[in-house]
Symmetry: C2
Subunit: 138 residues, 2 copies
């Protein structure tokens, strides 16, 4: 048995409204669903990007069909990366500049590929990167 | 501009060797690279699954071409989900049972789809789920 694909990626944010605004306005993600105070979920291609309020998900209990969902919740600055093509990176930089989003770092990887790093409002490190950095197809 | 695909998903673990053993032996992931004490990286389909030691990545500075990589690092129990087909879920359950991995919860979602939840050695909540849960194709 082999897990062959990621389905859900998550970060945590205390201010979900600010997170939603950022991921919609800056990264262009579409909201899939939200539960104020607990989470906002986004579809991203064939996977889901989930932002949870750790204060809520560490403690609260949700039951689905009599089954309690496992709790989870992290504090600190997490990390997530989204794909950008090589061709789109300059456009991303221009867009981030227009939106007043500081680029914290810009990396050309020795083995190929490029990344730019920004922060979401919760301080999570958000990367836009070319898949070639990992030897993956664009 | 729209981020159309996730490239990197990460969780944190203080004991990277235990995390590596778990993700290789239980979930069948392939190690892409490791840096003892800092990280172990896995390829998973067209994306990367990254396990970092937050003690290291919160503080340490790595430079690539004179550019410092942004720090990050979370404490607590994170969450990640991997795809399982409906057909494979019974096999996953059998395999987890053989390996002595407790299933913490098993959910049939009201709108369709199923999930099983286990914990990695660091306590992160690891889910195997059918993409139909999100209305996504398998």
């Amino acid at each position: 048995m082999r897990a062959e694909r990621l389905l859900e990626t998550c970060v945590y944010a205390g201010d979900l409204a600010a997170a939603e605004k950022f991921y919609v306005e800056v990264l262009g993600l579409q909201v899939y669903s939200r539960q104020p105070g607990r989470h906002v979920f986004f579809r991203c291609g064939e996977a889901m990007f989930l932002v949870f309020n750790a204060e809520n998900t560490r403690k609260s209990r949700i039951e689905i069909g009599g089954q309690e969902l496992p709790n989870h919740g992290c504090h600190g600055q997490g990390h997530v990366a989204f794909v950008s093509s090589e061709a789109d990176l300059p456009e991303w930089k221009e867009r981030l500049s227009e939106l007043g989003i500081a680029i914290e770092a810009e990396v050309r990887w020795p083995a190929g590929g490029q990344s730019i790093y920004i922060r979401d409002p919760a301080g999570n490190s958000v990367e836009l990167a070319t898949p070639g950095l990992w030897g993956l197809a664009g």
